[in-house]
Symmetry: C2
Subunit: 323 residues, 2 copies
């Protein structure tokens, strides 16, 4: 298939390169890394048996650049950010039979794309991976890597099945699911708790959060469980327990939202928290914990955009007693 | 009256000095500032018409030191902290007819004192004041200063009335109330919202909190209102509105909890939040917002006690995409 990867960050580079490995003609739309990728492609190193490999895209274009071939699948691998118009990014490359794939975090992130491209097949995907873009065009894959794919709002198309098979061919696990929206909610149970708390707590990793904030993590997870169920995507009762248990058994881990925050990058607050809160409001589920996190995170993001985040050195120790 | 002030921070120094001004024989128990206060007393400067004055205590003692006269009233003016055994601090000076006064923030802070001194009169007081100990034995009074006093669990004794009159004589407003516990809950509506949020938000002042976190502030206040009512101390419906309106009309203000946090001092988390959450559990009122704040604050405090709080400089901007 002809595949266009939009976004050459860690996710786009990693999964695009695997599709090329599987024999597809894979092009990329690069933004800040255009020059270097055009020049020498993308170098990947994995700590897993995948080892090292090199990915030279069939075509490398910039935003609004032109492709010589209409893609069978566009795979949008950017983060889902308020500042990024995903529809505008995708639109120039959507031919009559192009399927649009979304590989990103968050819930209810497909609707704006489906709305803009009503007659097009939408493939929605989740990546479970630790992967880092260490430099432009250079990717370090630490661990995991499996994907879950399905059509939006449900089903498994031929292209989706082919994508999953191609990933498996390249050496990672790929699951095609009839209910990708349910899978998104399940991932959101984890994301909505750990990602915001890592920032609000002042930089805790997963093990520290589990040590200090366990009941709060559970309360947040339970809210997401209820929202998912009311939104028509009930999850198995054991999901929070499994996720907490699984996280306890993982090495201490800093969330992507914390990394974004500490690097002054925009955070996926709306995709992960905002959409969850709006879903809760729509279906009428109480969500005080999520609402609290959402407001605190929105506040952090708004402040970040206004001034550099510098912790003032403690002044002379004043004993101030008031209100 | 013979009055012993325990604690020569901002609150103890300020209110002790006013009682001396009113003609009482006021001694102080000083801890870290003992030497300097013993030597030259306490110097106070107010930005209000109170002006400047000097307070030379009748006796200055250290912790476990001895007094020559049994106090009619002990006024405990320390913060309410887990690390501080208030009962042990008071016990050596409690004579058969000594009343024990508590001038501090928080709810349900009287019970442990009443429990330890069953037959003694307990006076409970709230200070509404901006006052700072700029150096040992040196106090800067910025604004406000009124106190509300009453007996625990209710009523107004002769000593309470005398205290209030003495404060009024010295130039500040003092209200004696039949229901000091209700007054504590009312102050807690403000404290339980603004104090923790100022820390969790990363250092916002009152005006910034009102700009960024208004709905969250309301949700927290509404929970405290419900807990107070269920605990037998219903407040007037308009209290949250009045407090928000009043805070909007105050100059931007950094809470005492934020000052404590940034100066690496212990915070009054239990007195303000912990006791409120425990009251909610006891009376069976849902309190998800308070529970969230309580866990986040407990987490912050536990982390602080383990390592210095230094914000790591942002590393090379890695684009990390994961979980």
């Amino acid at each position: 298939m002809n595949i266009l990867i939009i976004g050459t960050g860690a996710i786009g580079s990693f999964y695009g390169s695997l599709l090329a490995k599987a024999g597809h003609r894979v092009s990329v739309l690069a933004r800040s890394d255009f020059e270097i990728i055009k020049d020498r492609g993308i170098r990947l190193t994995s700590d897993t048996p995948l080892g090292q490999w090199h990915f030279m895209p069939a075509e490398v274009i910039r935003d609004q650049g032109t492709l010589t071939v209409e893609p069978d699948i566009i795979l949008l691998c950017t983060k889902v950010l308020e500042s990024l118009d995903r529809v505008a990014l995708v639109r120039p490359y959507v031919g009559p039979s192009t399927a649009i794939g979304l590989l990103s975090n968050g819930v209810e992130i497909e609707a704006p794309i489906q709305e803009a491209f009503k007659d097009h097949e939408i493939i929605s995907g989740l990546a479970f991976i630790c992967v880092t873009r260490t430099h432009p065009g250079t990717i370090w894959h630490q661990s995991y890597g499996h994907v879950t794919l399905g059509n939006y709002p449900c089903g498994i198309s031929e292209k989706t099945r082919l994508l999953a098979e191609s990933f498996e061919l390249s050496g990672i696990k790929a699951l095609a699911t009839e209910n990708i929206v349910t899978a998104r909610w399940q991932k959101c149970v984890w994301n909505a708790a750990f990602n915001p708390l890592s920032v609000i707590s002042g930089g805790l990793n997963t093990q520290e959060m589990l040590a200090f904030l366990n009941p709060l993590i559970r309360s947040i997870m339970d809210e997401v469980m209820k929202i998912a169920a009311a939104a028509g995507h009930p999850l198995e009762h054991g999901v929070p327990d499994q996720q907490i248990e699984g996280t306890l058994n993982m090495p201490a881990y800093r969330t992507s939202m914390l990394n974004d925050y500490e690097s002054f990058r925009e955070m996926e607050i709306e995709a992960i928290l905002g959409n969850t809160v709006r879903a809760a409001e729509r279906v009428g589920v109480a969500h005080p914990h999520l609402a609290t996190l959402y407001q605190l995170m929105t506040c952090k993001a708004q402040r970040e955009s206004r001034k550099p985040r510098i912790t003032p050195a403690p002044k002379e120790a004043l004993e101030n007693a008031s209100h």
